[in-house]
Amino acid sequence: MTKFKYVGRPVPRVDAMEKVTGSAVFTDDIELPGMLHTKLLRSPHPHARIVETRTDRAEAVEGVVSVVTGRDFPFKLGIYVGDRDVLATEKALWVGQPVAAVVAETEAIAEKAVQLIEVEYENLEAVFDARKAMEEDAPIIHERLGEYRTLPIFSPRPGTNIASVFTLKKGDIEKGFAEADLIVENEFSLPQVSHAYMETMCFIARHGADGNVEIWSSSQPPFIVRYLTSMSLDIPLSKIVVHAPYVGGGFGGKAGLNFEPLTVLLSKASGNRPVKLRLTREEHFTVAAIRPGLHATVKTGVKKDGRIVAEKIVYVFDAGANADYAVNVGRAAGYDAIGPYDIPNVEAESFTVYTNKLYATAFRGFGHMELHWAIERQRDIIAKKLGMDPIEFRAKNVLKPGISETGTGARLREDAANLEECLRRVGDALEWGKKPAKPKEPWKVRGKGLAVLMKGPAIPPNTASSAVVRFNEDASIELMVGTSEMGQGTLTSLTQMVAERLRVPMEKIRVASLRGTASTMYTWQTVGSRGLFMDGRAVLEANKDAESQIKQIASQVLHVSEEDLELAEEKVRVREEPWRSLTLAEVVMGYMYPGGNSIGGPVVGRGSYIATGLSVLDPDTGQGNPAVFETFGCQGAEVEVNVLTGQVEILKAFSAFDIGRAINPLLVEGQVYGGTVMASSIALFEQLIYQEGVLLNPHFLDYKIARMSDAPEDMVSISVENPQEDGPYGARGIGELTMIGMAAALGNAVSNALNIEIKDLPMTPENVWKAVTRQNPKLLERAKRYLKGE
């Protein structure tokens, strides 16, 4: 049980009332005086030169304020590689890419006028498959790749479609394979998928005549939006303010920079009036960034006793038409290529490749759900070949605190997360040794499966956070942090941490719901499961600072040394003589003696944190330390498959993560349920289906996502708490982790149930039926015989 009053307790979210009553403000709720609306014209071609654009008919529509094309905005955007047009300038690179925009008094007028823009295209040869795009004679999508502003840690290959490649090398791969008793090689794949967050993206921008720019954005990272907008559009940082209202789900899709620069430029082009850009769901499906697809080739050498001695991996990420953010997905998947395993000889190459499809960005798990699909399916296949229990096989090879080395050659700290414990706990929950119960219908089969996983924040080595804890007259507190609230609940956990240290009830601590660059403290981005850890560390520093200011004042008044004081029950008091105390309200605005003389002043606690001990990875071998913490975990499931239809039902889903400490167990459970359902949805249903570059399912009618009735009946979060010394109260991050292993666990369970090997996602009923037909036709025949009553 927790020894704390707030930390570790399942307190309700601080934003719960606002959200259930509908008073929470999201970007689309905001209306500004004189605000205009915009609609985008989208390319119908996957790869085409823009010869000419005629806008006069659109301009003539009453109520139209401005019509712009790509050539009006010759800026390149991007967080890691500046490869993105504001609007397609010379070429359109995918079906759906915005090529022009209309700004008008109403959305309806903009919508009508945008149809009247005429664009003449010259079609170019297109390429849709990432591996084909890597071939010698493939059409080149970004001819100017070599000229783009690129962070030096990335290695684009100008003259090809390879936006970046990351290489990991450890030990001697040839020697490793020579020592192996068994070598297993497999290919795995996952399609591109949509983030499908509930709130479609919305942006409002006002480019004032005085050069001041204000942006409201459904964005995960207001500070990065400000920084990148400033850099890309050459506007001084100090002239930009970014407001970040609540975000209705981001999952990485609202990280980095999205349509903020476009909206700013549209406002500038429209007489400095504010402009709102909001995407419909269907527009979203063809305009906004998605998760990359992956093709993986994994070759593994093992000894008879189950020790993995060598692993060679090639990941090819299908980034679509832009890779400005996706190059870092490819990189993160590259350095974590082998997952949470201690393997002496490793060689991995992770390519991020352009194709003429929707472009990819960050997505919950940042390449790790994808890579774990490949390696955790591979682990089960190997275990089967060795005749070993998959838990024992994994236990033999997983990283162990204080002993093991990761793929990047970083030694695991003594207080690192304990993966083996997670593995055993999930195994126990699944009653691993026991056969699953028989289904009611004889044409159904059941199977169990699990997968282990790891991830740390994929961030630049100098990523930082800050926080301010500011007291009000009644000793209530304003907590100022930059981290965004997009459903994950970090603001609640941070509030608990303030209440714990400063002994103020949670109700008296307020975190502004409308945050932004001018009203909150700096944080890099709310991504990579870093918020609680890094912003949390900054909050702890701010707490400490505030506490010492309070004690300084109180020590003068009470004539005791600061060390002899403590905070309790909204008071500061002498530890050994608790009846000698001052209320916080008497102190936090400065203390006034009865005679009127005053000391101190308003208490403002300030805290900063910067990741330390991280390294710039070696450019040739990828060796070094990329992460401030790694969270390890294991996920497992039991499924029932209808052999006749291929339909998969998830009966049970268990997750165990060593998160050090659950600051709020309710929020951890929420993350686990959300991650489990999201991962199941991606594992069983989700795929963007293209035909010659045209998306065939740009709506929820045919892009299936899980609904409540698809959620596993039995979902359990198992909390493992081996604290990390430098984590806030020992905590590590959890957000992304909860979906990283579940797809592979389901793949293993389905494969076990049907006695086949599933290697490609999604496991739709049709795909499962096809796999059974190909790999285990006898099973299907038997099921059909049952049906005939034989």
Partner: protein
């Protein structure tokens, strides 16, 4: 895909004759609307751009829902799917229809969507169509010239096409009372728990113990340009042959009648496979203990 609806004039008549007058007056420029769950989507996509939308929900007569022994079930054109779902007679006597309703859309959409709308959309995937085909339903059609009854199969003429004239509308759906021992099921092949049909199969069995008078019917959705009933089945099951042979014949009759295609939802091969297994599953569920 647009955010806005195209411009149109909205009418909300209080009687059928007032609605018919409007249809007559505006000819092909008008369309009737019940729940709007198909129509408004089509309008946002500009698949349909009617100048006049005639909302039927204000017409009291169209809200009637009755079951009378001998007469059967009468479902007014504005009766929602959820109202039907909760109607006792549907659950007790029209099992296949109840199955279809339970598995259609989602709760929010079912609160608005109507049965008549589902039929008049004439989607090959209309879930209510196969059950109503095996129950021999008829639609009551009104026009300025009067009312007529149309056999359900004659309503469907193609993908999203009906035999209704521009001045006609459906006022009710009539489903005759089935034999007392009737049993029926509707099974739906889906991609996830809430989906339109990849393949839908309605099966009905009555008077099984009397081989010469036996009634076995099958109808399908999503396997042809319109929902289809396979009429040969009735004859097949009146033969004096072993059960297994009858089912084989019925499945081949069904496969002969349908013309499934490959699309974004399913390949043709998988549809053929589903027709096969879902037909067998449905018949087995109905006859499991009795053959």
């Amino acid at each position: 895909m647009f955010v806005t609806l195209p411009e149109f004039e909205y009418h909300r008549p209080q009687t059928v004759s007032a609605a018919l007058d409007l249809l007559d007056q505006y000819g092909g420029g008008a369309t009737v609307m019940a729940g709007g769950t198909d129509l408004l989507v089509d309008m946002r996509y500009r698949i349909r751009v009617p100048e006049h939308v005639i909302d039927l929900k204000g017409i009291e007569e169209l809200g009637k829902l009755t079951f009378q022994p001998g007469e059967g079930l009468v479902i007014g054109a504005t009766v929602t799917l959820n109202r039907l779902l909760e109607y006792d007679a549907v659950q007790s006597r029209f099992g296949a229809l109840h199955d279809a309703l339970e598995d259609m859309c989602d709760d929010q959409v079912r609160n608005r969507a109507t049965l008549a709308g589902n039929l008049c959309t004439a989607s090959p995937a209309a879930d209510c169509a196969p059950p109503l085909l095996v129950f021999d339903a008829k639609v009551e059609v009104a026009s300025p010239a009067g009312r007529r009854m149309v056999d359900l199969p004659d309503l469907f003429t193609g993908v999203k096409e009906t035999s209704l004239g521009t001045d006609e509308m459906v006022t009710a759906v009539h489903v005759p009372e089935p034999p007392p021992d009737v049993q029926s099921r509707y099974l739906k092949g889906k991609r996830s728990s809430e989906d339109c049909a990849i393949v839908g199969v309605a099966a009905l069995v009555a008077r099984w113990d009397d081989p010469r008078d036996r009634v076995v019917r099958l109808a399908y959705s999503s396997v042809a340009p319109t929902p289809v009933r396979v009429y040969d089945v009735e004859r097949i099951f009146r033969q004096d042959k072993p059960w297994g042979d009858l089912v084989e014949e019925a499945v081949s009759a069904a496969l002969n009648r349908v013309s499934p295609i490959s699309d974004v939802r399913s390949s043709k091969e998988y549809r053929v496979h589903l027709i096969d297994v879902l037909t067998r599953l449905a018949l087995r569920e109905l006859l499991g203990g009795r053959r």
